[in-house]
């Protein structure tokens, strides 16, 4: 039986994508919320699992894995080998490329902008960082927009890379003073990803 340790808010960005991936591979799991605000990630029983005190964390019997993208990859490899990663070395490399693009480009730009326009206390919001993050975010979305005008998904077939990118795009729309309306292909792709059954199921489960 799998156990996922995740955020108390199951829609939190890195928790959500793992929950959608679990739904995509149709794996049963037990959900264990870890309340970061209460410092539960530093409790002995959690630190025994992950000395680095980070969520999400997947426990599969004696196998423990951190980092949301690595978890999604493992789930896809273990439960649905022919889907979500691609089957050939080329397809898999492409999947990894777009996961990396999100974790090195899109996500940090989103997160820096979120910190420095929304999340930090006003006196800790640094305009220089917000400005550079806005540019980096526009650049990342500028890479995605033409690609998604040409194809249905990031890699050409639905993969975990689409989930990685979609949860960030969800948060950009929900949380940032940043207008994505100028990216119609991106928005159409986002609608395709988020109307899939597993995404809908993960959202519905989170609402309970």
């Amino acid at each position: 039986m799998l156990t996922l340790y995740g955020h108390v808010n199951p829609l939190s960005i890195n928790t959500l994508k793992v929950r959608v991936a679990l739904a995509e591979v149709n794996a049963e799991f037990r959900y264990q919320p870890v309340d970061l605000a209460k410092g539960e990630q530093h409790r002995a029983e959690f630190v025994a699992l992950n000395p680095y005190a980070k969520i999400p964390l997947l426990v599969d019997d004696d196998f423990i894995l951190a980092e949301s993208d690595a978890i999604m990859w493992y789930l896809a490899e273990t439960f649905a080998p022919a889907r979500l990663l691609g089957t050939t070395p080329r397809e898999r490399a492409r999947t990894l490329q777009w996961c990396d693009f999100v974790s090195t480009g899109l996500y940090p730009a989103y997160y820096d902008l979120y910190l420095h326009t929304v999340s930090n206390a006003p006196d800790k919001r640094l305009p220089t960082i917000a400005e550079s993050a806005t540019k980096r975010l526009a650049r990342s979305l500028g890479v995605l927009e033409p690609l998604l005008g040409k194809q249905e998904t990031l890699t050409g077939q639905f993969s975990i890379a689409d989930l990685s990118a979609a949860v960030v795009v969800r948060n950009i729309q929900d949380r940032l003073p940043f207008d994505v309306a100028a990216h119609p292909h991106l928005l159409a792709w986002y609608a395709r990803v988020t109307t899939r059954g597993p995404w809908q199921a993960a959202m519905a489960a989170a609402a309970h």
Binding site: E67, A93, D100
Partner: protein, 207 residues
């Protein structure tokens, strides 16, 4: 046709790919991209890599970027080298450290390297104190994690893997960047071991 890879000798992300290719014994057609001449912004190159970054791989029509993805692809050409294990759990652990490098550890090291070294060298701009402070905070947090992982382990995922190349390549400018290694003995010893390898020796940056 041999695999072509566009790279820059100044780029830490290019270096890890060069290290991986060398460790795997792959024959690569290396193509230098001269940033000073704006070759990374040339239309032909941007068609391959829309972000205008290095490295970019071109293997008979497969165009691939993001250095960790390129290393993984190269390693899959020589599974017997076991630098990117094929077993699902062993691979998952290498992936965990690769993603951790790109999302956390690498970001902290790059921030300090960019602010304190590259920005001044290439753009004649001073370091931004706020970014340096953020980089310092993140570095001490992540260096402690990697140091803990390397205690009692020769390599980050147990056996040598592409995750070691990713993590070790990103701290090459640690002295100039003021990246503090002293509190992290296991991390320091591991970097020394990695940098003593032929592949690292042969790909030292020009400065």
């Amino acid at each position: 046709m041999s695999i072509r890879i566009h790279y820059s000798p100044l780029s830490q992300h290019s270096r890890r790919v060069r290290v991986a290719a060398m460790e795997l014994g792959l024959d690569i057609d290396w193509r230098l991209i001269d940033f000073a001449k704006g070759e990374n912004r040339a239309a032909e190159y941007l068609q391959k890599n829309p972000a205008g970054k290095v490295p970019t791989l071109d293997d008979d029509g497969l165009v691939l970027w993001e250095s960790n993805a390129i290393m993984a692809y190269l390693a899959d050409k020589k599974p017997q080298a076991n630098l990117y294990p094929t077993d699902a759990r062993a691979r998952a652990q290498v992936n965990q450290w690769l993603f951790w490098e790109s999302a956390h550890f690498g970001v902290a090291a790059i921030t300090l390297t960019w602010e304190r070294v590259m920005k001044q060298a290439f753009m004649q701009q001073p370091a931004d104190p706020a970014l340096v402070a953020q980089g310092e905070r993140d570095w001490s947090r992540y260096a402690a994690i990697l140091n803990g992982q390397l205690e009692g382990r020769e390599y980050v995922a147990g056996a040598l893997s592409i995750a070691d190349f990713a993590l070790a390549s990103i701290v090459v400018h640690r002295e100039a960047a003021g990246i503090d290694m002293k509190p992290y003995r296991h991390l320091q010893n591991w970097v020394d071991r990695m940098e003593a390898r032929d592949s690292f020796q042969k790909t030292k940056p020009p400065f």
